[in-house]
Symmetry: C2
Subunit: 339 residues, 2 copies
DNA sequence: ATAATTATTGGTAACGTTTCCAATAATTTA
DNA sequence: TAAATTATTGGAAACGTTACCAATAATTAT
């Protein structure tokens, strides 16, 4: 199957290659009639521009890379799907790449831009490289989504972001539990030395307790172990198990990700605890499953779809020459059966 | 940030561009010493080959497209992640693209190959185009994963596949329920005129009943509505609701996807039914959630990871010039609390 | 009617690779 | 020692685009 090139089209139309090129690219300097003719012929011949050649010439690929840390989380799936739709509909390709929790996403991104000629990057989750990272070396626009704190070592005008105010939402969640009358609230946070959302939500937790005049019991804070930092059913489950084993008294759990909340529920119910009578459980994210799990799980629901839409929109804004922006969304506490 | 080209490297080394090219591509006709020198300089200068140029010349991009139908299903997520690892580790790019249930994936694929110069395609789920499809026009190797029946209108030697024997597994599942003593087994199948896994599993269901001498009650077969054919919590939930409303007597449900089983459980528990006392629930796929859901869900567990590994392996085999193959895996019934 | 502008056009040089081909240097064989 | 082979090399032509430039045709202004 031979490829049909712009030359074939030109020959078929009896015009020059540049005319065909102009027709394809909506160039102003072309007669409407010739353009129509060319476009018709193109359809007839089934011609599709060769992207490699185009990218080579334009020295810019029509591709957006999406780097995800923690792909297991269904939260990201929904986002990816929505962003993909937008990316494709604008004629771009989405290159998806996971990055291991132990990897530096700035390194991965840097490598990628060199070989791939991307015209934008979306970071989903993670960004452990916050402290003075190599992100500044990136010469393509990027937006970080679901990260939380502003990136250190990078100017605010040099990237876009969309997120909820994780600290405030963590505080809100904790206060909600406090208002419900829970006194010994455990929190399932992220990895200890991490800088991502988990730690921010934890900070909010501390703040809420402090404001309520309740001293923070460090035994109630369950960090994720170094060897498995991913938010998953499993880490939620084992955190709960660990909490039980350690014998710490608790009457509620705030898991900083829904998937962990699910795992926690399983552990509690398995060990004969009633939810929410013996222990309340609260999640964070607002994935579908919290609605369908039984008991349905109270959660801090992020406006996932909207955030996804804005994430890609923000990126394309910058590609189109506009300024970088930082969007902060409000999350909403959805009360369900676990509290 | 100017791009460093092969010319710069050549100049820096005092050699010709072709020598540099040879060094990069492990060409045999090059002196070991010069090669080392070049490689050292390359690292020094931070040179990375330009993919577009390379693809243009080789007229083959080092990219694998993964087309997924039904991205919401976590089953595919796990597969995607595993395949991606393999794809990246071999130096290829993974281009992920969802295809809407209403779209023809062969069309999408065809379009993609023309503009992207892919060197392989992986189809995940779907392939409604089974009847005499345009798949034959594809001039890149492809493998269909999780599809089930052999593709019609395409020679077996022209593509690879990995799957379980969906009909047999459906039969196995149904027989398992029958052996457990359930008599009125409802099945949540796919869309009625679909040709994908759902219908095969349904065929197995029919076969099992027939063999047991039980006439099939068509009222027990819940097809997915035309406007929402995706396997999801929601479609499982609403199928269950519909079944209840219709007043059909049933004592077990076989959902052809775990996510649907989860939704069904929710609906049954919500309406005061006990699982498995009033109704047994059985899923298919073997996603993590079935373990962590409460009650944990009996399922026909596919060897997801292995299937994912083999899927990309099969593709690269063909890329490396080997023959196409068809792999059939065995699924395993994992008995849990819902039966 | 002529000059000046404007609207279209085709030709061609890049873009950064790979790969064939011929050229040279190094080695082996006769 | 000359001839034949082999191991390395550099040069240059592609790959399919885009975009600049000059050329032509059509229009307007003088």
């Amino acid at each position: 199957m031979e490829q049909i090139t712009i030359k074939d089209v030109a020959k078929a139309c009896g015009v020059g290659v540049s005319t065909v090129s102009r027709a394809i690219n909506d160039h102003p300097n072309i007669n409407e009639e010739t353009k129509e003719l060319v476009l018709k012929k193109i359809k007839e011949l089934g011609y599709v521009p060769n992207n490699s050649a185009r990218n080579l010439k334009r020295s810019e690929g029509k591709a957006i890379a999406v780097l995800v840390k923690g792909m297991t989380n269904p939260f990201f799936n929904v986002m990816i799907k929505i962003m993909e739709e937008d990316i494709i509909s604008r004629g771009y390709t989405m290159v998806l790449q996971h990055v291991d929790p132990s990897e530096d996403e700035a390194d991965v991104a840097l490598e990628l831009t060199k070989e791939k000629r991307l015209c934008g990057i979306i970071f989903l989750g993670g960004i452990v490289t916050r402290r003075g990272s190599k992100l500044g070396l990136l010469n393509v626009p990027y937006v970080v989504s679901t990260i939380g704190a502003p990136l250190k070592g990078v100017h605010e005008e040099d990237y876009s972001s969309v997120a909820v105010d994780d600290e405030r939402e963590g505080e809100k969640a904790t206060r909600y539990l406090l208002n419900k009358g829970y006194k010994r609230i455990a929190i399932f946070a992220g990895a200890k030395d991490d800088t991502s959302v988990g730690m921010l939500r934890l900070a909010g937790y501390r703040k809420a307790l402090e404001e309520a005049g309740i001293p923070v019991d460090e035994d109630l804070i369950m960090y994720l172990p170094k060897d498995n930092e991913e938010y998953s059913y499993y880490t939620g489950y084992s955190s709960a198990k660990r909490l039980i084993e350690e014998g710490t008294v608790f009457d509620a759990v705030f898991a900083i990700a829904d998937v962990m909340a699910v795992g926690a529920c399983r552990a509690f119910l398995e060990t004969g605890r009633k939810i929410p009578k013996d222990v309340a459980v609260m999640g964070f994210d607002g994935i579908d499953l919290t609605r369908f799990y039984l008991p349905s799980i109270t959660t801090v629901a992020q406006p996932i779809k909207q955030m996804a839409i804005e994430t890609s929109r923000l990126l394309f804004e910058v590609i189109d020459g506009k300024e970088h922006r930082h969007l902060v969304f409000d999350a909403e506490i959805v009360e369900r059966e676990t509290t």
